[in-house]
Symmetry: C2
Subunit: 133 residues, 2 copies
């Protein structure tokens, strides 16, 4: 491993996902579900307003893992995700990754990965497994 890593290390990033971001992700993922794109549809849904794709918000983990912790050269092996609450368009999401285990025999690292909304509520929870570079 290129530098010291230890259990408890964290990295975070925040982003507000806009209508434009959500439209861009819909195009990339071929996910044109109206719950993300159609105001009147969303108002009549269980959510009451348009929501961000869970996989879009979860993609913040990819950047944190590959660029910050463990950082460059990491190989992404796995990710689990629980979408625990809706994320509304325009709300600030803060994604955090925290090292919870480092294998003693090889550089395989497990991190808790979670997102909070601007009220501090947990909206995504899960774990990532990466091989450090």
């Amino acid at each position: 491993m290129s530098r010291d890593l230890k259990v408890g290390d964290t990295a975070s990033v925040s982003k507000i996902f806009t209508d434009e971001d959500v439209l861009g992700f819909s195009n990339l993922s071929l996910d044109n579900n109206p719950i993300h794109l159609d105001q009147s549809y969303a108002e009549n849904s269980v959510f009451g307003k348009k929501i961000v794709h869970g996989m879009l918000a979860a993609s913040l983990f990819s950047g944190l893992l590959g660029m910050k912790l463990p950082g460059e050269g990491s190989i992404y092996l796995g990710q689990s995700l629980s979408f625990t609450a809706p994320i509304y368009i325009g709300d600030r999401v803060t994604a955090t990754v925290e090292i919870v285990n480092i294998r003693p025999d090889k550089p395989i690292i497990t991190l808790r990965t979670y997102c909070l909304n601007s009220e501090g509520s947990l909206v995504i929870d899960g774990e990532a497994v990466v091989k450090a570079g």
Copy 2:
């Protein structure tokens, strides 16, 4: 549930992820890892050429679940992902979701979710849990 669903039902979609797609996803996810964007960096990496973000390819599951199977009105509860092999830019990825369990007491559905590359090799494997609309 709005229609009959049964174990073994599948839905699939194919997409070739281009450099432009990967750049777009880098901007959305704040993931500017050079393994996805920098030709010479990628050539000198373990992968040998630029790769698609695993989370971008996995986002195809979101569209399949929300629009095809179970389809509109579904609520995405969870997703696990194993990134089993690299996905190269320009290769065709086929994502499939297949119902593996339907709870008898409520409309909670588990689907196997996987991606194959153009050679038929498994590049992503995992499971999704959704509440059918």
